[in-house]
Symmetry: D4
Subunit: 251 residues, 8 copies
């Protein structure tokens, strides 16, 4: 298999194969089967993107095993989400990760230089939404995006949000992170002219029903340009924000 990939990469390099064609081919390539997981190979190597491991529900040794397989296949930048502190300490003994306790995100390798269209603004309604926001922020950063953090700008104190009108108007993409009534997404969606990715959080109590309230609120936003990801899914929002912030002309 190795030779094939090498040939393919050389074709990309010397221009006889486009990146898109190469991607198409690589998507159909085999993966490495390590028993409890099938690790996709090569896809991200070409573009310099990190591979991502969703840490929840995996044992430390499974996580290390997947990292080993990724590194074996040429990947030098890895993002691990939902990694609890104890596991992070175990992993850190084997691979030199940096770990952010608040968002439970670990990163292997250097952060790339931002090279997106513009800036990704990540806003939260309150202080308790910050862990989810940081998961989004680090995800966006490791995918080459400059991130502006606007934390604790919930709509119940509108002046705090309005004093950041300029960052909002000039953003390339905005990630709006909020629990409870989730109104932040609508208000930002009304102010901004760019795509807004709404992340409901499970912050709240009682009739917030673990994020259901914010989720429904965001899905019903009457502001245009707003779409929604799963409750607490900071990674998904950060990833999509980065993708949109790297849109380029396809012929």
């Amino acid at each position: 298999m190795k030779t094939e990939i090498k040939t393919l990469l050389e074709s990309v390099k010397d221009g006889t194969m486009s990146v898109d064609d190469a991607l198409l081919r690589l998507k159909a390539e085999p993966y490495e089967d390590i028993g409890f997981a099938k690790v996709d190979m090569h896809r991200n190597v070409i573009q310099g993107n990190p591979e991502v491991i969703y840490g929840a529900g995996k044992t430390t040794s499974q996580i290390i095993g997947i990292m080993d397989a990724m590194i074996r296949n040429g990947q030098s930048r890895i993002l691990i989400t939902r990694l609890d502190k104890a596991s992070a300490e175990e992993v850190a003994k084997v691979h030199p990760i940096k770990y952010d306790e608040l968002s439970r995100v670990a990163v292997l390798g250097e952060m790339p230089e931002p090279n997106g269209i513009g800036k990704v603004v990540i806003a939260t309604g309150g202080t308790s939404d910050i862990p989810v926001a940081e998961e989004a922020a680090i995800t966006a950063e490791i995918h080459g995006n400059e991130v502006i953090r606007l934390y604790d700008v919930g709509v119940a104190g509108l002046h705090r949000l309005l004093s950041h009108k300029e960052e909002i108007m000039n953003a390339s993409v905005i990630v709006a992170v909020a629990g409870m009534e989730g109104a932040l997404a609508s208000v930002i969606g009304g102010l901004a002219d760019c795509p807004v990715i709404a992340v409901p959080t499970s912050v709240g109590y009682g009739a917030s029903f673990n994020g259901l309230s914010a989720l429904l609120s965001m899905l019903n936003s009457c502001a245009s340009g707003v779409s929604v990801v799963n409750i607490d899914n900071g990674f998904g929002a950060g990833y999509l924000a980065g993708m949109i912030n790297h849109m380029e002309v396809k012929k």
Copy 2:
């Protein structure tokens, strides 16, 4: 019974009995049983408040029957909510009601002069929320309140709401009527210093789940001073707004 009531009213008039004491006594008074309903008597006669008939699920003849009983007991001002057009036309043949088709509210008798502490502001997120808002507005007006209507000021176009900041800051009570994401209550709650009564409406589609989204959103409002009534319950909000707008010192 008649004599008792008369005596009681005279005691109130000549000051030997307080209004509160009289109310207390009257609450325990019998009602008129007209078979399908037990019509409370006298309670509102003293204070000039209207009696209220909830029209939904009652036949035209039941409604007329209840009105007859009320009038028989001295009531000259009656509010009928949730009255469909066909029934209203039938009722109008018997009693000289005024009927508002949009809100399906009928009124018998003259509107009183406003005599509240201040003004009741009634705001809606969109055009479709107006029927519920009008139910609230007419209810407040017939209970002696001056109403300011701010319609179609939803948070997705924040400048429309902000251009009415003054009315909001100076309101005595605010009724915030909104469907879909229901964010209006939180934003108004953050701007105002007075009680805000949030009315979720069933306006919307899909994940609005007939008002559930707005309801949960409003219950989770992180703005202080916000409370919530049932979905589409314009009457309840207008009634409570009027009650708050007539607060007076109790010794």
Copy 3:
């Protein structure tokens, strides 16, 4: 900034600016950004109201940091809700708070003299609803309200409630706290002539679904003058009760 505020306060003092106008201006004033939170300033200083910190989901050091910022800006009365015992002990080492273990509420500064229109009655259905009721009671008290506690007066033993008919008839505002079937709000709403704020609690089991049963029950109350706050939201109810109990004429 300081001078501006000072000028403004002096204008209020010497009558060249109304309190409302000052409030309006102050709402647009900057806040102090302490990284993880944006602390609103000055708003409550003028009126003597306490600032409030919602303790849940904040670390002890975040709470202390917010207190520091508040005190730095002239606030001497602070209410902290949802503060667990361990945190409270930490905070108490830095600031001389009084802590109520049952309701998990901490108070910094002296309780003010009651100066409301009348009395706030706080009633509970059962013994287990008392923590939520106390959160409401302390919140109301620190906002200058006299509170009457009627605990364990649930509707299944109607005589217990009826023996307090007088307190209920004479209340300025009533907070009805109940879990399970939440019928207390309706029965009190039927007895009283003042606003009733219903607080569903998560007390119960099985089909109470963590307070959903009481919440729905209260939203569907057929008594007029009843509105609802979030499940277990004693603070919200106490705050709103206090606000209603301080209604005054706005010109």
Copy 4:
């Protein structure tokens, strides 16, 4: 088969077989299979109880077919529930039923003399709950119970309920029918010492969610002796009330 049944009935008559033993045997007896339905035979003939047809979702000809089979097997008293008016008129051409339009209940045969332990009280919260209550009332009456109707005694006007304290205290069984917040069951449960059967109704709007609110409320009743049947299930409540009102000593 006929002879067997006859023998059995004679054994019951001459006392060589107890009613219970006969019932036990009859329950295992064949039914008449009329294609779209399997009609149970004989069971009720002995005790004089009516057979019951649940009319919803059955065509007029199916209903008549089932009646024919019942009559063919000796049954002279039949109760048909959920029968719409058009069908009732069709049925009436074939069998001399009496039809109650409000509750959509039809009865064939004479009402029996009441022979229960005491009286069955059927109470409703409002006027709109009467159709369900009447389904319960007629069901109870055709099973030999004396019924006392207490309609429109909802808890928001407690004095209306309290003025019937005596009927409630003296009832043998109580059926409490209510929509919206469903608090009636708890309050009655607290007043009475007899079994209370709670029937939630779909009366209401918004957060009543078609009876869910009343259902949950009733299931969470903290009054002892309360049990619940399905939303709008007047028949079930009336039947069970009658069963309890005919309890007798089993050796």
Copy 5:
């Protein structure tokens, strides 16, 4: 107060006052207010019924306090439900209770002789439903009922249930306790001719949604004579069963 009660009791004893009239009077009697609870007095003393304390959400000292108040007022038989083991051990140091670990029920005083109409059958679908069933059983026994336990007779093994057909046919009342699909109530309801009280349990996983599945199933039972209590509410079922099993002629 004492003398009044004594007089009343003597009137009952010498026949100048009926038990019902005495009950009616006693229900309106004051309760003992012990701060965190209002303890009803006298009601059960006359009939020999135990007072009941719902232990969940009460501290050990609150429970002991309530017991003290009860005993002070003449009650010698007390039932405590939902009492965890640690609390039970504390209580046992003060009052000589008997504690059943499985059902978490404690009993003070002697069990009375059964004096009901017939026997109460308590059946469970599986082994895991036994704790709820035992709560029902002990509750019924302390109210003077003979209880027959039929455990682990779920419908998936119909022969186990059918081999107890006789107990079921001869029961006075049946309590059907089941989680998961809750079909037991319907099958028993079809076999029996007596009232069936269905108790859904939270036993199960996944789509049982903590008892919701069994609850809905039981509410929808097409067997007549079935009513439902709250999920896991063994006490409610046992109490109601005992009440029905003690029905007697009221004149």
Copy 6:
């Protein structure tokens, strides 16, 4: 394309290609794109199975268009489900379908001879479940299965079900169709030793929540060998039953 298919079919016929291999190939074959639908070709031609059109949400002309495409590709047996009567009459003008009004199923072509392992038993709880059951029955029959119908054998009248114990014990597969409490699946599952496919129906009212109750009940069945399809999905059950009844040894 035609020649390819022909060659392939000949290879199957002369044994140089197995049926499985041919199927595998055909699954990857193109479909006919008729604009609003992409009609799969050939798959069923070989095995004599009918093609199926889900009629709901399709216009009559779309349905006829799809039939035309199917017939054009050699299919002579077509099953159309969820076809309303008006559409059926239109279709019948173009293609000689047989239409069953009760189940809203139309069939084009002759029913095949049954050639399954055994018999498919289709049982319903009540009369109202028959339309769903017939959808299952006709689906099974057109796929070559002998069907035994056991209608109205709900568990509340257990003897009706038990009198068919033999058919149940000897079935190859059983489809259990029931609404309301959905207990039929569990009871049959306990009696039978073959796969039971449970079909919840939307028959019922109130807390049946349009089939949710039966669905949850069936998913929680404690009988082994029971699986569930969507509410009212008679087709899915009939199709799967036929598939299981045609299991054969794969080498």
Copy 7:
């Protein structure tokens, strides 16, 4: 006001003001208040974007009134969604709209030339999802996007989807429209490297719960780059797709 706007537009034209700055200013401009609605002005005039009217819940005369106001303010391209056929015919008498019956979308003015980054692919799971997809498609087209329609490519016939792998790989943005199990979004999300906007539809029956099933499924997608809009919200998806397809570098 006119002069101001004119000046501003001239500043944009002669380059002394950037488009972003102008937008920022215009967002704060007044709107035209036409009683039942507040119509935003000018915003879209500069960029050539259409104004949008959400037709549901508005009367024909309200819609025409809003159109009049928009035209009065210089807008020549208007999109009306959720417009029923009867209203469309009324509107067409006044304004020369084109109306698409399937998607209930009306367009006033010419469609612009596509000028986006790439192509917007709109895929549906089935034929019944086409109306929602067309709402998305027309919305995208009127905002200057080239749209490729891939209809009826649901995952149960994977070859139909896979035969369009190239369009999917080369898309700039993909809108995945599906009801029932909503799996289309995940499968497309796994194949594509561009943002995928998932639109759950209310197509389905039974446990699809009017689109809830597809909504939850799409929110839980484990493919990266997928976000979700409200059930049946074709407009929202088409608008957001167009916005992403017009991303450009912001300095």
Copy 8:
């Protein structure tokens, strides 16, 4: 009893009684009542099938007691599911079980030789679904089935699934285990021609609502031949798969 059984078994052996008839008889046989459980006897002895104990909610001594009863009645092969590690260690001291920690399944006795029609394929969407899949796999194996495990083949990486097309096409039955969006069942259902048993898992977070999302998704699968078992019910799926894989001609 012993003799009866023996006679019956001899009749089976010498061919005077069919296995089916014997089964029928044995099903009606008594069970051993060991107090907290009624253990079915003999049923599985004849066919060599294991008895199954559902370990959740049973104490270790109850489990051992049931095992003892089973062994006493001739059973040598026992499957225990949902057995936590601590209990397993206790049981292992008494009976020589093999315990799989991942799936919490214990097995007593030897695994039988596979003797089914074909192979059972068990596929999972991700790594975290493996515990449920293993419960299914071991259950299928102990019932005599050959199992092929395809783990981590979720639809977001379609090539991983497609590279196993052959195993899927050749399977006798497929068990599709997936959480989150649960799309695996539909995609496999579209590829395969055999029965697919879908097992939703509680893997996921936020709007997965503990498996509800996957459950609804699977119930709404538009692929034919798919049925669903309870969330996380690996045992149920494995058992049913084995049953289908052992279908044989019944005369």
